[in-house]
Amino acid sequence: MNNFTPYSALLGGIMIGLSVVLYFYTTGRLAGVSGIVENAITKKTNRISNILFLLGLVLGPILYCYAKEPLAIALTLPDHSFTITDSYPLVIIGGLLVGFGTRLSGGCTSGMAYVASADYRLAL
């Protein structure tokens, strides 16, 4: 198995779990990102909170970029820096399918995989 990185994956998963717990405990809502994006675009209720959550998703990696070197050494994190070389049509088709599919089924990876399975649900 190439590039197997179970520890950083588990650590990241625990952080995602903590975020979902904190969000649910305080706001009473489940942090499924596709739902938050859809609500931020189409619904007025909790719009500012939803937009702030999405802003947090953008700010986190910037913080990580600055804390990366000392953190990565201390926690022996693998380097996940990347580049995207896909063609524009491929990215557009992928984006359309991801947006359409997640909302048709009612949940994306975070909603379905993390939240639904914690509640022994088949779907959100």
């Binding site: 305080t26 596709s34 970029c65 990347f82 509640d119």
Partner: protein, 151 residues
């Protein structure tokens, strides 16, 4: 702390988890989805870690009526396995496999470390996000409304 501060904080923690785990890295995701060829099973541990933390909390919290900030606990009603779920999940899977980005990571990928080591701000990710938003709007305005009218 109000729900706006909490939302921002939760977004930050969530995205740090995404970056640390490798979920924002499309080639890592493609490696995870290619189960028949040089399978990299790492991302299974992301799901494991998240469920490990969330499941016990959820068990105790789900029967409460209001959250600690006094907001109504909003749980979706149990959904049956229907055509929408199966077709939607399959289409999502195709899109995820094509590019290697799903909703959360696609937003965080915008500022995730690129090969230079710093936030990449790659316009191709904006194109992905824009297409994703269009896909969501098409579902809501065409498909969901048609289904509602049928019923």
């Amino acid at each position: 702390m109000n729900d706006k501060v909490i939302s921002l904080l939760c977004g930050v923690i969530f995205s740090l988890g995404l970056v640390v785990s490798g979920m924002t890295n499309p080639s890592k995701v493609i490696g995870f989805l290619s189960i028949t060829h040089n399978w990299d099973a790492s991302l299974m541990f992301v799901m494991g870690g998240a469920i490990l933390i969330f499941a016990p909390f959820f068990y105790f919290l789900k029967n409460k009526e209001v959250s600690t900030l006094g907001m109504k606990i909003e749980l979706p009603s149990k959904q049956e396995i229907d055509k929408k779920l199966v077709i939607g999940s399959a289409l999502f899977g195709v899109g995820w496999g094509l590019v290697g980005l799903c909703p959360g990571p696609s937003i965080s990928a915008l500022t995730s470390p690129g090969i230079s080591g710093f936030a990449m701000f790659d316009p191709i990710i904006l194109i992905f996000l824009f297409s994703m938003a269009i896909g969501m709007l098409v579902n809501q305005n065409l498909v969901q409304k048609t289904i509602q009218n049928k019923n």
